[in-house]
Structure formats: C-alpha cells, structure tokens
Amino acid sequence: MKKLYRVFWWFLYTAGAVVVQQVVPGVDALMPGFLLALQENKPRQLLVLFLVFTLVQEGAGSLGFGTAMLSYAGAALLFRMSHGFFVEDNIVFISMLSACLGLYHGLLIRLMCAIQTIPVDFEQLLRESLIQTLAIPLIWVPAYLSRPKNAPATQ
C-alpha cells in the first residue's frame, strides 16, 4: 500500500510539474523531484524517474536528443560530488546545488545550441537560468515536506 502511495505521489508530482512548466516557460520543474529521488537513494526508483523525466523533457523540447539526459546526468554527478560535504536534505545544500544547476543549465543549452547551430538569445537564457536557480528550492521544499515518510528539513 505504501509503495502504491509512493508511485501515486510521483505521478501527482510529475503532473504538477508539467503544469508548472506550462505556466513558467523554460523552467525544469521535474529537476527538484529528481534531486529528491537522489536523496532517497533508491536505484530502481531513480532509474525509472530518470527515464520518465528524460523522455518528457526530450519529447517536449526543441533541441536534439541528449540534452535532458545530460542535464539529469549532470545533476546526479553534482549531487554525488557534493553530498558528502553537506547534509543532503538541507535547504541550504539544495539552494547551493540549484545555483550550480542553473549555471550548468545555461552552459549546457549554450553548448547544445552551438552544436546544432541554433542562435541563442543570451538574455533569455540568462533569465531562464536564474529562474531555474530560484525554482528548484521553491519546488523542492513542498515536495520534500509532502513526500511520504520524510521529516521536514532539519536546518
């Protein structure tokens, strides 16, 4: 029953994130959920979410295949590199990670656009990177608090 509830929670989260992405263009509202899955450290759940989130973003995006995969793989790498130094479920850690992810998002999009010879609107890219940086903790906090069997952030 708990497992079913967890699956249902992820379904609700994904649907909510899709709606957020409709309202705020350019933002990745699935990323906080992916960070949450990284914190829970359940390999099968992480793999399924990685595949689902990647497919959603790749399918809806206008860049060539691979950008979303690189984005989530980069997030996982950043998380693994830094989680040893900080408390994982700390909002400060998530804020610092989201700043890195915002920067990574801008660099990744710039790189992929250069590869695909697509002109980039730098002002828009910068704005969306900043929005991404702010959006991750804002979405992560309610998601973390509502996640089954999780206590609120300690610090």
Binding site: T14, V18, V19, Q22, A60, G61, A68, M112, I118
Partner: protein, 320 residues
Amino acid sequence: MEIVGYVLSPVVWLRDRFASWWDGYLALVDVAAENARLRTELEQTRAAALLASEDKAELQRLRELLGLDALRERPAFAARVIAKRFGPQAVLKTFTINKGFLNGATAGTPVVTRNGVVGRVLRAAPHTATVLMLTDSGFRLAVISNESRTPGILTGSTERRLEVAYVAQNARIAPGETLITSGADGSFPKGIPVGVVTQVMPGNEILFLQVHARPLVDMDRLEEVLLLEEEGSAPPLLPPETERAATGTQVGARPAVPERVGASSAGVPQAAEAASPVAPKNRATASNHAAPERPEVAPHNTTLPAQGRLSAGPRARSEP
C-alpha cells in the same frame, strides 16, 4: 510530447470551464451598455460588408480579365495552443498544439490565425505537435510586399522583430507596407498577411536593403490556430471525436478532415494580389529547423499527393 499533451489537455479544459463560468455569471457588469455599443458596431460592419462585397465582385471580374488563377481555397482545421515554450529545452520559439499527425498536423504544415501567419509545424506526435513560430530566427518564408511587389525572404531574429533578406537596393519598399506570402515556397498559399514593414535601411556592406518588420499576429496571446492542409495531402488518420461518435467510423477509415473550415473563414484573403515576380521554384525558403523529424506512420487508406509534391519539400518525406 504526447505525455505532456495528456496532462495539459485537462488543465486547459478546466481553465476554459472556469473562464466560461466567470464570463457567463460573474462578469456581467455593463452588459446593457456593451450590447448597445455592439449593435452600433454591427450596423457599421454591415455597411462595410456591403461595400466589401462590391469590391470582391470587382476583384473577381478583374482577375478573370487578367487570366490570373484565383487563390485556391485551402481546407484548414483548428487546433488549441496547450503550452508555449514548454520545458527547459525550449530554445526555439515554439508552442504546443493539441493536434498531431493522426489529425493531419504533419511537419511543415502551415499554421495561421485570422490575422496572418503564425508559423509551421516543426514536429508532430500522434495527438500533439510543436509549432515553430514566425519570430524564431530559424524560420524562413517567401514574402512579397503588397504595394511595391518587392519580394524577399522573411526571417525571425533573436530580437522581437522580423527581418526581410535579399531585398534589392533599388526596391521601392517603404515602411507601412504589408508583407504577404508569395506562395513561392510551396507550402504557404499566396496572399496570407505576414507582417508590416517598420524600417528600411540601406545595407552598408551588403548588396541588399536591410528591412525590418513586425508580425501581424500577437504571438504572446495565441489561444487557437488554424492549420492549412496541403493540397492533395493525405487525410488524417483519426476523425474528430464528435464525428466518430456520430458516424461510428473506425480509425483510419475516414477520408474527411477534422474541424475543417474553408480557407475564406480562416482569414486567408481572397484578394490575391498580382502575379509574384518571385521564381516559383525557389525552395530556399524552407525553415532551417522545420521538419527535422517525420512521423513514420503511414495511413493505409490514404492517397498519394500530387506528383510534383513528392520531391518538393519536407512534407513529402513522410508520405507513403
């Protein structure tokens, strides 16, 4: 893309229900005054329509005298905008609509509104599609100005304006002229309004004029669009829900088009201008990004398009 469509369609539906309820019950303030104003406007519009019908008849007669082909009517079907620039990878200026290749929206399909050109379908899933907007820097469209008949290639830009390339230095194009599709690219029919020229400057180091324009369609407020079918194109695989329910037809067994409306009602101007000086075989106007992918699904009961279309453009590639 299909998953996104399934999630967003109910959200859009709920939003519409709420807006309808709000408009119908709560926002009835000043209805009487508005009604009186609308009645006055209706009278004025009727008078204008009478004059326009005279002009239309005259135009038809002149066309026949000159031997010009009248603008062929293009069937169109409506689609709903369900998301704009969805997700972190929406680098291109795109939006998502609730019609896919099963409904007839294939890559390269022209997308318009009653005010003018919006863009063309970039790629299509079964029930949703992504439309590349006119303002994207990768968009290309053959246009001609409606007064001086100056041809050019319209492109979007990273800034909020359109640019018209390859306009000769001695062209008489002037600010305020309306740009219309020239029909030279083989996908958009001739005569659809695209934008208004805002600035004309001499090219300093190039052989062409620098022409800037603004789109006629407000891209920020798009809610519904019309997709123009290609002549001789295969019919969609799926009829609309209402028609399926009414006729009991099966998937893939329908030769008609969903929510079809005539080109005249789609805002495509009946008043095609004089013959374009643009070479009709000019295929260099296809979008850089248009049709990078084509759905591989081929209907069993569809017919081949006209022979000339098979090698003409990106639309032909997915035909059986």
